[in-house]
Symmetry: D2
Subunit: 349 residues, 4 copies
């Protein structure tokens, strides 16, 4: 840590900082500049937090050198985390990026869901996704069908040989949900619902953690850190757009660059969700490609058997024919990228 | 609602929209402009959501005329909501703004907390606040003392005649917390934790709902709507700063104007939290005054008996002597504003 | 236009709006809802601005149906704008995306610049870019070499057969700059310097207009509209990142989705600048590909013969060997995308 | 400066940094941590910029200790800057905050303007403001009456004994404008139009510099630094709202806390503009008070003799009766605050 003192900090204030650092086992170097005094604290102790130091009189700023996420960091684990499912599907590392598709909410129409599942399987997708509990900004909107939705999801997935993904909104639903889903999803609005992060951290089920609307990359990785810290190492990150000053043409701004940034600093897999990221059907194909080309490990797409009748997010859902049309091109794009990446790395070796 | 069709929408697409509106009981007027067709739907039906219409082919945009928050709106309830406590303290309406003070986290030091409570009482404050469960960005930071903290809080409040405020992080803690606190607080990170909003909505305990880091005013009032919708009408809003592009000098940007905006559109009381809103001790006094001058119904301030040893948010906490010094001026400011407001309205009548 | 009246607007206020609309030649329809009155104004008149209507008492909101940019819009001009240079290079439409490379600032070292120009030519790039006048946040930073820099730029471009791009900062430099450059650039900070937009609007030289740090897409297209309105139709837009709440890992957030959005609503070509967009060397290749894959008409990249000695933006500049290495892959990617796009459209026909 | 090296920086890379620092006269201390090496550079040299260091291989981040604005900083000049006009009016320091009022644009109606000027004088305001050249987002909006507007402004001000303020948009208008105005204004969109900053920096006329829509506080003070650096010390800052993710109820978010922040770090006076800051008439009075209570040195308010016919910004302009009504309360508020501030400081002495 580096402690920058105020311009007019007193000698006593400086000594107070130095003593506290030494008491906590840091090696201390004090540099008296023309204007500011800068105190370097060497060592990686957790007994003294930056906030504690910042509260001392005369301290202007505490600069932490090391990234605060540790288990999520490549410093601690160099190789990519790969998550493997019982049927052999893998996410992360050099594996070919996966596709997760399905309706925003599972509705009271099993046959509709099954149509989507069949189309997903036909197009080579690996996961069927669908919400059972919907976080809705307004209490007047549809809130989801609950456990019944999960039963439908499981049944349609089993009928087609897909894996399931669904969002968990409350720790008390954990055991029930684990019966039906292969991957738990934590939504953008719950990215700092720490009780929920700790609960999923204590189980072993893979978790997709969506970036919050206004999460910085560092906060996003720290949210993942909460899950890792409680024991669950199977975390998949998901970029789904952040809030900006402009929402006239797209719901959110997709931070495509965050994908290679996170790949550099963390070993965790990361997928991309262009449906929520843009809120516009016509942007799903280009933004899925943009995500893949910068290194995403998967793509999540909303598909509904009849978007005009969808109970939520119909505007951004693809119909089955649109989905098949787009998936043809996405598959070809994905295959080629993957071929080049694995060939290239093979040649380099 | 107003439905704006795409420039190249077909006749069939327009008829589809019109039929759906009529089927749901709306009165429909269709205006064919030079470029766009605009369809007006008159009526206030909840059977057809804007999202459902937006999903139809050929629809460019659906514009909702009425604000989506209804129970929180002045349209529904003209007069200010006033929340009254057993000891006669009132929040909202023409009542004098209240002060809620105390440490960020209650720590394992009852005497320290009691010192703060005594100072609060001495300076005329009404509430003692303190966290028992702390939402922390990093899992390596102090997470709160739990129920023991609440026992300390209650005891110190009872010893001094104050009311208590503490943050709830999980619905499962509700019954336990209600034993100790007079006001439940929902933190900024949980502003769209709908399970939690619904849980506190089902009890009668007053709730402080903090604005999310990136909540729009409309989303903030919709979050309150979730609580009102489930039955609890005792909601107090809290402006505590929003996230902007600049965090070099202040943690957040306080949206002071949101206070008179919310007063215009909603009947709910709103308080201001300059400690979290700025993260800087020297800004607490001026920003508390700014909040009061635009009409806030209360102020929340972090005070710690020894900020340099605080386990969280020490940087922005006032020590007891600083607090007393500032409160003298805040009390005098608050008294005069209140005197003028009540005199003025008396004269107007 | 749609005029939404306040909930409590009086009859007189409504009539005032209606009369003003009729006086200006609009066809008027008035819808009295349960809560709000909504007035539809049909017609496309410029004599009455939305702001004028918004100022009337009792008006809550004026909603404009048509996009305010007209000359820049596909409504007015369906086919893509293509800009052709004397040597046959073309930007926009179905032409293969171009590359513009060179140092942030041209420095007092002609040989260094020539090295970059040679490498650019060798790798198939079309444009040599370099700043002569630098907009710098701090007055203590290097401000550019002025006309001498432009002479170097022209000489190095002529020696290698490249076209030149350089930023104009003041209308008074226009004639001088036109002697040296093939494309004028207007920087992000000047996107609403209307005097400058009007000046370049009156000449015929192609102009690259960079998106402002906090320009919405609509404002960006309106800035282009100023240039088009004054007569210059040769406008090339450039996405170079917007300001967000997170600048820890990237300087700006690249709004990759804005490229297909703008392609949908405007006929103007748009290029992408991953150097300024991210501020990080390691992100240039992936973000250039992301831009190309969503339809950008070109890529701008900072290359310096010796980045460690660059007088500005060295951190994000590529050295010549790095540049060549990356360009090999970018060329192959660009060629294939272009082949597919032109083949595909040929097949469709 | 502090140079933080990448985790895997090589010994050669570290030595390169150290040598470059030493060559430029810095005193260097190198701290080898467990993970990162941190190099402290002591001294205040301008020969080596942080950007130059950041471009070196192996450098992760360069942290500048001292604020980059120097002439604008309290480090350099402890006492408040006070700007005095020929008629004795003063801005800054312990002087009573001033009021600047008038229409957004001066229109072709001298009598209308004179009415506003008379009302301003009657209510004790010091400045008449009005635009002659209007920066307008759309080219289809009114662009201002030019020099004729300035003649009207001067005439109306002279007739009533007021000082004049008007916005300059281009350096070439400087001499002409100086004939008519007492204070030049640089608008938010030109805050980084460095050519314009340098031009006004070379004259002696007081300048109001408005904060840009997305200027950080540091960038805002650096923009002022450009003016100071070229010689003009008479700079008045103006907070007028920043861009956020929410513009449904207010045009911008007023960063009220930036006023006491800037007062702490800079000696320059700062005023507040609630008309542009909120875009809503009903927010002008509360937000003017909020600005004054945190220490603003003045308030700028848009007043039009007939807002419903204003050619720009009518929505946020006050009519003359509204203005007088509000000014009565603002004057009383301002007088009392000023009395307390000067009494208090007198007592403290």
């Amino acid at each position: 840590m580096i402690i920058i003192m105020e311009r007019n900090a007193t000698k006593v204030q400086k000594l107070r900082v130095i003593d506290l650092l030494k008491d906590n086992g840091f090696e201390v170097r004090c540099n008296e500049g023309d204007v500011h005094t800068v105190i370097d604290a060497l060592g990686d102790k957790t007994s003294l937090t930056p906030g504690r130091l910042a509260a001392l009189e005369g301290v202007k700023e505490v600069k932490v050198i090391r990234e605060p996420f540790r288990l999520a960091s490549r410093d601690r684990k160099e190789e990519d985390t790969v998550i493997e499912f019982h049927n052999g599907v893998k996410i992360g590392g050099d594996n070919k990026p996966v596709f997760m598709v399905g309706p925003c909410s599972v509705e009271d129409d099993y046959n509709g869901l099954l149509k989507v599942a069949k189309a997903a399987k036909e197009m080579g997708c690996e996961f069927l996704r669908g919400g059972a509990f919907k976080p809705r900004t307004s209490p007047y909107d549809f809130q989801g069908y609950g456990e019944k939705a999960l039963q439908f999801l499981r049944k349609a997935a089993d009928a087609t040989g897909l894996l399931t993904v669904s969002e968990i909104m409350d720790a008390s639903d954990l055991d029930m949900m684990c019966k039906y889903v292969d991957v738990l999803q934590i939504g953008a609005r719950n990215v700092q619902n720490f009780k929920l992060l700790h609960a999923v951290g204590k189980c072993n089920k893979p978790v997709i953690l969506k970036r919050g609307l206004s999460s910085t990359i560092r906060e996003f990785l720290l949210a993942a850190e909460h899950i890792l810290y409680y024991g669950n190492q199977n975390v998949i990150l998901c970029e789904r757009g952040i809030r900006s000053f402009d929402s006239a043409f797209t719901r959110n701004v997709m931070d495509i660059a965050s994908i290679p940034v996170i790949k550099k600093y963390s070993h965790l897999p990361i997928i991309v969700d262009p449906s929520h990221g843009t809120g516009q059907r016509y942007l799903i194909e280009p933004m899925a490609k943009a995500g893949l080309v910068v290194g995403a490990d998967g793509v999540m797409i909303e598909v509904h058997h009849d978007p005009e009748y969808a109970l939520s997010d119909g505007k951004q859902s693809l119909s089955i024919p649109m989905f098949k049309d787009i998936m043809k091109r996405l598959n070809s794009f994905n295959n080629r990228l993957h071929y080049e990446k694995t060939c290239l790395s093979a040649n380099v070796k």
